[in-house]
């Protein structure tokens, strides 16, 4: 691979990663349930991404590449949580949370998911990554990813029928 100048690297990094910072923050906040932790996670992921930029051979793979780094950072932070201590979730920063009572059970179920399962759900249904890229981000096989997805969706609302489209 031809060596790029630092200026070229900087331009490349800015063009590739910058548009992904906002969705990366949403992914981290949803996974970690903490806005400040999420901001730190994305910052750290951006630093790691910069250091590894030479390893990215195909710029079109930037989404799955960067979200993999963000997902790993979230998992790493989750491991560092306190023992037998729970700091409750921070209050909402925006007051305009829609009151959709029909969705409350689903909201509650999402909050109770394990962090890895929240990562899975967000990568698949919010960031719309293909199942293979979700599996890569979570460092599991595609088969294991499908199995986990199936389990998580069935467990979210056992009383609801799961649209088969979600499992594909």
């Amino acid at each position: 691979m031809a060596h790029k100048s630092p200026a070229e690297d900087s331009t490349r990094f800015d063009g590739l990663v910058r548009p992904l910072l906002e969705p990366a923050y949403r992914l981290a906040a949803f996974t970690l349930q903490d806005g400040h932790e999420a901001e730190d996670a994305v910052q750290e992921a951006a630093i790691r991404a910069w250091r590894r930029l030479d390893g990215l051979r195909d710029d079109t793979a930037i989404k799955s590449w960067f979200f993999t780094i963000v997902a790993n950072e979230c998992r790493s932070r989750q491991r560092r949580s306190w023992w037998r201590v729970v700091k409750t979730a921070e209050p909402a920063l925006t007051a305009d949370v829609p009151d959709v009572s029909a969705g409350l059970d689903l909201d509650r179920a999402l909050q109770r998911l394990a962090p890895d399962d929240r990562l899975l759900i967000h990568l698949r249904f919010r960031l719309d990554l293909p199942i293979g890229e979700v599996a890569r981000a979570l460092r599991i096989s595609e088969g294991a990813c499908r199995t986990r997805l199936h389990r998580v969706l069935r467990g979210l609302r056992p009383d609801l029928e799961v649209d088969e489209e979600l499992l594909r």
């Binding site: 690297d9 990094f13 910072l21 250091r51």
Partner: protein, 395 residues
């Protein structure tokens, strides 16, 4: 009604709205904030790049840049001077021996591998598991068993029982290292249960009415020998209730309710001591809350008021760990200051040596290599730092 992509996406968006936009990374309305935030990143990267380029030009440097990335590279293990070849890799240990208490950690260089240390800080074994398993593994207090999201393993990695979290909620290991306790949602209440590796879960008691809304119940301590479990209920902004329940009969021994300004709970593994952390802000709407209190669980009586301190953990031997910054304080349950340590990180993981007073402390130091410093503190306050690159297991 069906669970569809649309209603799932809407629920995720509602959840995201709780945390607001990312202020430091926001790019709409001008790129300056994001640029300022990324400037240190770019500067650090650029400086590193120039340094590496200079070293390569001198011909004295050999770098192994096998960063883990989708391009198929391996894991980065750092770099070394060509004049000093890397030490031979340590021999790969097998499963740890039986009969000793173990401290498990994740190999920072190989997230699918668990390392076992004894309470002198020596590495005594390792297990290679599926990376899913290491992501949320919790160890029994003596380290003889592990639970990995849906199954129990013994110290050799052999499966010795099944317990899916999806059915029961996440368990907490009991003090005896042979049982776990947890709370699950029932139709109209929360149900406290216990289980053992290889033994099906048993419901113990109904705890309060159903949690409902955005609140949830969790076990914070469980002791078979003292026949007690401590369960707390948390909502979005505060802890509202704490129950102490007899495991044998399901009798509620203590119920603290209508708690004010409590934003965190810690308990000793034997379920004897309980700390209710309070703070201004949040549920207190910035008014000063009541002091953080240490309580004796069987009676509910207050043993000490700790002011604005935040209690991270309490040992069964009655040592209270407080601090949320660079300074860590160890106190008695009566509030007497016993010792202070400077901490390399802000948050810590604590494990008490079964049957002893040694404590393992692990710190989140935000090291570049992703590892967490781990230290064993003896009753005489001497300390043993555990070497190597490891991360704390989930807890």
């Amino acid at each position: 009604m069906k669970l569809t992509r649309e209603n799932l996406r809407e629920a995720i968006q509602r959840e995201e709205s709780r945390f607001g936009a990312a202020p430091m990374f926001r790019i709409e309305g001008g790129g300056a904030p994001a640029r300022r935030r990324l400037l240190p990143v770019l500067a650090a990267g650029l400086a590193g790049l120039l340094l590496v380029a200079g070293l390569v030009l001198t011909g004295r440097y050999v770098a192994h840049l096998g960063e883990s990335a989708p391009a198929g590279h391996g894991t980065h293990h750092g770099a070394y001077w060509s004049g000093y070849p890397p030490a031979s890799p340590a021999p790969k240990l097998g499963p740890p021996p039986a009969g000793i208490s173990l401290i498990w950690a994740i190999d920072a260089a190989d997230p699918g591998r668990l390392l076992a240390y004894d309470w002198d800080g020596h590495e005594v074994g390792a297990l290679t598991l599926d990376q899913n398993a290491t992501a949320f593994v919790i160890q029994s207090p003596d380290g003889a068993y592990l639970w990995t999201e849906d199954r129990f393993l013994d110290r050799t990695g052999r499966e010795v029982g099944v317990l899916p979290a999806a059915d029961k909620g996440q368990p907490v290991w009991a003090e005896d290292s042979r049982h776990v306790c947890g709370v699950r949602d029932a139709a109209s209440h929360s149900e406290l249960w216990t289980a053992s590796p290889g033994v099906a879960p048993r419901d113990v008691a109904a705890v309060g009415p159903g949690a409902g809304g955005q609140s949830g119940d969790r076990v914070v301590a469980c002791s078979v020998s003292r026949d007690l479990a401590i369960v707390y209920r948390s909502a979005i902004m505060s802890v509202t209730d704490v129950w102490a329940v007899r495991l044998s009969t399901g009798q509620v021994v203590t119920h603290l309710t209508n708690l004010v300004c409590v934003n965190g709970v810690a308990a000793s593994p034997d379920a004897r001591y309980l700390a209710l952390n309070t703070s201004a802000g949040g549920a207190c709407n910035a008014n000063p809350g009541p002091p953080t209190a240490i309580r004796d669980v069987p009676t509910g009586g207050v043993l000490a008021d700790l002011g604005t301190r935040y209690v991270a953990a309490i040992s069964s031997s009655g040592i209270v760990m407080t601090g949320d910054g660079s300074q860590l304080e160890l106190m008695s349950v009566r509030g007497k200051l016993l010792n202070t340590f400077s901490a390399p990180g802000q948050s810590y993981y604590v494990l008490q040596r079964p049957g002893g007073s040694d404590l393992l402390l692990a710190f989140n130091a935000q090291r570049a290599d992703g590892s967490d410093p781990m230290t064993i503190v003896r009753p005489d306050w001497s300390r043993i730092d555990i070497g190597g690159l490891h991360q704390v297991i989930a807890n």
